[in-house]
């Protein structure tokens, strides 16, 4: 999982903090490289679409962002659940660190989807199962962050947020399978684990490279954020006061 190479060695904030600090810039660099490559492929290698023309190029952001919105929620729920089960502080901190980035990608998916829907479908929004469940995902992220912000005690905030995060996990398969289970305006999946992609190879490549770019970005940002959370929550511990001696 993100940042945890050896579960037992790095499961304390004190040992994880420097590891996160070392890893974050590397993932940031990877994000920049993959992002640049993905944008290049998306605009200069992938051809126009026979049906949607140049408007389809929104796909290079929309689909990777949607994938991240779901993936980050599952990772967040995983850490929240682990913190609930093992009573570990760092797990709860990881869940809290993931939420804002997950919410951001959810919003990006909704925003870019809306701007894509207007010229192609003829509307900025419909309440079909796919769009509605993705909007619910955004509310779940916001609810998680608001709930944690409302509770002063960090451990209690972790537990309350964890319950909400776990309860909301059911929404992720709903989002993914919505286009199969219900009649929707949103079309079915172009990419799946079981069949070949229904996209030209260069279009598919651009999308995958951007997905990796977003993933590396998320890792870098989450690692930076969890370091902030560690400094905030562990400020009275000996190792932090010792570490902060060198701060100006």
């Amino acid at each position: 999982m993100k940042g945890n190479i050896n579960w037992f060695k790095y499961s304390s904030p004190q040992t994880f903090y420097p590891l996160a600090g070392t890893l974050a810039p590397w993932f940031g660099a990877l994000a920049a490289v993959f992002g640049a490559a993905g944008l290049y492929i998306g605009f200069f290698v992938a051809p126009t679409d026979y049906q949607q023309g140049e408007a389809y190029r929104i796909i290079f952001i929309h689909v990777p962002a949607a994938w991240m919105s779901m993936f980050l929620y599952l990772v967040m729920a995983f850490w929240a659940g682990a913190g609930l089960m093992f009573n570990t502080r760092l797990s709860g901190m990881m869940a809290s660190a993931l939420a804002p980035t997950g919410a951001l990608f959810t919003f990006i998916a909704l925003w870019t989807g809306s701007l894509w829907g207007k010229p192609m479908w003829g509307t900025y929004w419909v309440w079909d199962a796919r769009l509605t469940s993705e909007l619910i995902l955004l509310f779940l992220y916001f609810g998680f962050m608001a709930l944690q912000a409302a509770i002063d005690d960090a451990r209690r905030a972790d537990r309350a947020g964890a319950v909400l995060a776990l309860v909301g996990v059911v929404n992720v398969p709903v989002i993914y399978f919505s286009v199969q289970w219900w009649n929707t305006l949103h079309q079915g999946a172009s990419v799946s684990l079981t069949k070949a992609p229904t996209m030209a190879a260069t279009m598919f490549a651009g999308m995958i490279v951007m997905a990796f770019g977003f993933w590396f970005y998320s890792i870098a940002v989450t690692l930076l954020r969890v370091r902030c959370i560690v400094l905030e929550r562990e400020r009275n511990s000996e190792w932090v006061t010792e570490y902060a001696r060198d701060f100006r």
């Binding site: 126009t48 079909d128 199962a129 305006l185 079309q187 172009s190 229904t198």
Partner: protein, 149 residues
């Protein structure tokens, strides 16, 4: 280990309970959650009477007719089994094409014609350059001519 197992059981139980509740709610509201009805469903009287609903299907090839006033357009929505004639006043989306997907909202008139207030184009999940699409079309034509023989 015991408190941890108890916590795990509570989490799993809670998530399972919520999953069951969600499944129940969804099945209970199945009717209201339908985003569009197919022409077959409309023919089987599954669509709500006397209020707005949506129908979805394909625009039947050769069915699009524009009226003399320049604004009104007629077309037929089909799911290859049943069809419904539609009349609409307004601008059609860019991707509205014969043989392609459409979702339209409106009311079914007593004469069986659907009075549409909104027409949306539904596109598929295929992305390819124009050359590939042309090649596919040619291949399809060639295959059809083989089958007929």
């Amino acid at each position: 280990m015991k408190p941890r197992h108890k916590r795990l059981a509570m989490i799993v139980g809670g998530v399972a309970a919520l999953g069951a509740a969600a499944a129940l709610v969804l099945s209970a509201f199945q009717q209201n959650l339908v985003f569009f009805f197919t022409p077959s469903q409309v023919a089987a009287n599954e669509a709500p009477q006397g209020r707005n609903f949506r129908i979805g299907g394909l625009v039947e090839a050769g069915s699009v007719k524009r009226q003399a006033d320049g604004v009104t357009v007629q077309f037929v929505v089909t799911d290859t089994a049943r069809s419904i004639p539609v009349v609409y006043r307004g601008i059609l989306p860019d991707l509205f094409r014969e043989g392609k997907g459409v979702v339209t909202q409106g009311r079914l008139g007593p004469d069986g014609v659907f009075q549409a207030s909104e027409v949306l184009a539904k596109h598929d999940e295929n992305y390819m350059p124009p050359e590939s699409a042309q090649a596919l079309e040619q291949a399809g034509k060639a295959q059809k001519s083989v089958v007929i023989r």
